[in-house]
Symmetry: C2
Subunit: 393 residues, 2 copies
């Protein structure tokens, strides 16, 4: 295990009806004028927005709304949000929704008090020294952004989708998490979220850092439970217990707990970011394609952890099988699981056209440099091969 | 799963050499004059104190020392600490050691700014509205106090050992955790710590709250890893990887993660507190006696979770066995594990005399009222029976 710092100061307020506590939480964290950042109409339609604004008004606080954040949130929406927040003099950003509004809220929070272009913090040109405080009402368990210091923004002009991690600055002050709010999600969003949160654990699990028995053991336990609950939800989307487990697992998957003391990989995420930047597919859907392809590429180059994954997470019975066979069965079981969730694991089917692999590799090279990941360090030729494996399925 | 709030804002700075970062952490959290609260001579003898004070001086901060905190810290030492802290005008309390100095540091932090008797916060007479900030350099993984909002103090005058939980106020700002510092611990302290941290998970695991699959699954994973690493350490106490896992597990066992959404039990802890209050045995040693006795008492009254524990934590093979047999084997395996660590599971042997069960039950009644715990709610007669079971082993 490597030395690490683990800092997860977000207050998680979890359970039925907790959205009514939003105003009280905002007041406790010193908010006076709040900008509510959200995406879809679902927030307004289901009455959630009214419950939130009622609770804010009850505490005597002011708010403005800033809606319309789309999946894979863009720099344009961040610029507009920064302008509105400055114009209205807000001192707190409240994100309502899933990863997209939360990530946009964090980017806006970074930009409001900064003299330059907020994109400087994403392009690596500048490091932030502070941000407006952010709170969250989570409605889509997936990105884990409610407990992380991360934010992913797509720059439409440069076609770059870049993820940053500023844990001391960007972790939300609080996250309100009511699993009931996830019951009205369309199934594909539930499924995408499940793939995404499992991927957040994979990116940390597949590592060459030695002596990580404890973190690997609880990571495997969380992964197995997500699988179980996902299959329950496929049969009965109103299963509160399963919704609750999935929601809490999504937070634990990405609040740092599963990565303590380990070098992390993140190659599958980078490979996926190019797909969703060019073809505007959902992040989770892209991961369901790229993760098995990445595993297949790594199988012979670094089998150890894939072998353990097959047995401990995918419940492959190792008796009488070679290492290769065990790993192959593990990957195959993962694909079956994705298929059971209704997802494709084929890149062409995902994009709905012949994907331009040259273009994606070129962009990946520009964004990430010559190599990617650590479990198997990937050259750009390796990345091309992984995209090609994803076509073969 | 019940609604819950999970708030663990402590910054954990974990790994080799991290004690040298103490001064920088204190400065980051605004300390100007620090009182260092510690217990044993080991802190001075091993050169740790010098490393800490060097790092404090390097940051230009002031400090005073307050040593001599004993295991099962007493109200007298807290009164003395409050007086010294007030006299010196300190604004930050740094605990160096294990649960005892940390719990004493928290009690001192509660008392410094309070007009009344700090014991009011333990006796239930008053609720605190604030406390001085507390930091920790952990040298004994056991109590989990480095990440919890709990503090346990023994009032020598009234012979009461009382635990309080004020998570919004008492969680340390930071905890410096270098597993190397635990290598010079006498074996019995390592073993006591292992029993204690496992008990912190048991108290949350054994619960009747339905639909707690995720939290139970990762709790079991942590418990199994502690067992594995404990047996490794018994053979090789200098095994850094095992020391690191045990140290991190001790924090996760008690920072609330394993209790989210569950009613918690804590009967074994209360039963043990009476033993260590009257016979001054180590808390972990007392738990190794009381937990198997408590399990035996509960076995037929509420078998479900004990059955799961036997299979998932103690690795009992259920094939061809009755529920009773499975549970009995699980408890027996746990006792063997404690014996392997060099501990007794017999109350008489622990106390070194015939324990006065009447006196303990009377005191328990005074401290806790008529019933105890939730997995099987215990009457005072039940508690007597459990003490008696602990004599029979």
């Amino acid at each position: 295990m490597e030395n690490f710092t683990y800092y997860s100061p977000t207050e998680f307020i979890f359970g039925k009806g907790t959205q009514k506590e939003t105003g009280a939480a905002l007041k406790r964290y010193g908010a006076k004028k709040i900008m509510i950042v959200y995406g879809s109409d679902r927030v307004e339609r289901d009455g959630l927005m009214n419950e939130i604004t009622d609770s804010i008004e009850k505490e005597g606080l002011e708010y403005v709304k800033f809606g319309g954040i789309r999946p894979n949130p863009t720099s344009d929406s961040v610029y507009a949000g920064i302008e509105k927040a400055r114009g209205e003099g807000v001192d707190f950003i409240l994100a309502v929704g899933g990863g997209s509004p939360i990530d946009a809220a964090k980017a806006i929070a970074l930009g409001v008090g900064y003299g330059g272009d907020f994109w400087d913090f994403y392009s690596g040109k500048a490091t932030p020294s502070g941000a407006l405080p952010v709170g969250v009402v989570l409605t889509i368990p997936a990105a884990g952004s409610e407990g992380s210091g991360n934010s992913v923004i797509t720059n439409e002009k440069t076609k770059q989708k870049i993820s940053v991690r500023y844990p001391m600055i960007l972790r939300p002050k609080f996250a309100i998490m009511n699993p009931e709010l996830t019951m009205t999600l369309p199934w594909n969003q539930t499924a995408n979220g499940i793939v995404d949160m499992m991927a957040h654990i994979f990116e940390r699990y597949f590592s060459n850092t030695p002596d990580t028995q404890l973190v690997d053991a609880y990571s495997e336990a969380i992964l197995r439970d997500i699988e179980d609950q996902a299959l329950s939800l496929r049969l009965n989307p109103d299963n509160y217990a399963a919704r609750a487990d999935v929601m809490w697992a999504g937070t634990l998957a990405h609040n740092g707990l599963c990565g303590v003391g380990k070098e992390e990989d993140w190659a599958s995420h980078r490979l996926e970011h190019e797909i969703s930047a060019f073809y505007d597919v959902a992040h989770g859907a892209g991961l369901a394609v790229m993760i098995p392809a990445w595993m297949k590429f790594c199988a012979r180059r670094n089998p150890d952890k894939l072998w353990r994954f097959a047995i401990n997470v995918m419940s492959v019975d190792p008796a009488g099988k070679s290492t290769d066979e065990i790993i192959e069965e593990g990957i195959s079981e993962l694909k079956h699981f994705y298929h059971d969730l209704g997802m494709t694991t084929n890149l062409r089917e995902l994009c709905g056209c012949e994907p331009d692999i040259d273009k994606m590799v070129k962009s990946l090279h520009r964004n990430m440099g010559d190599t990617l990941g650590c479990y198997v360090p990937l050259s750009m030729d390796d990345c091309r091969e992984i995209y090609e494996i994803a076509l073969q399925d």
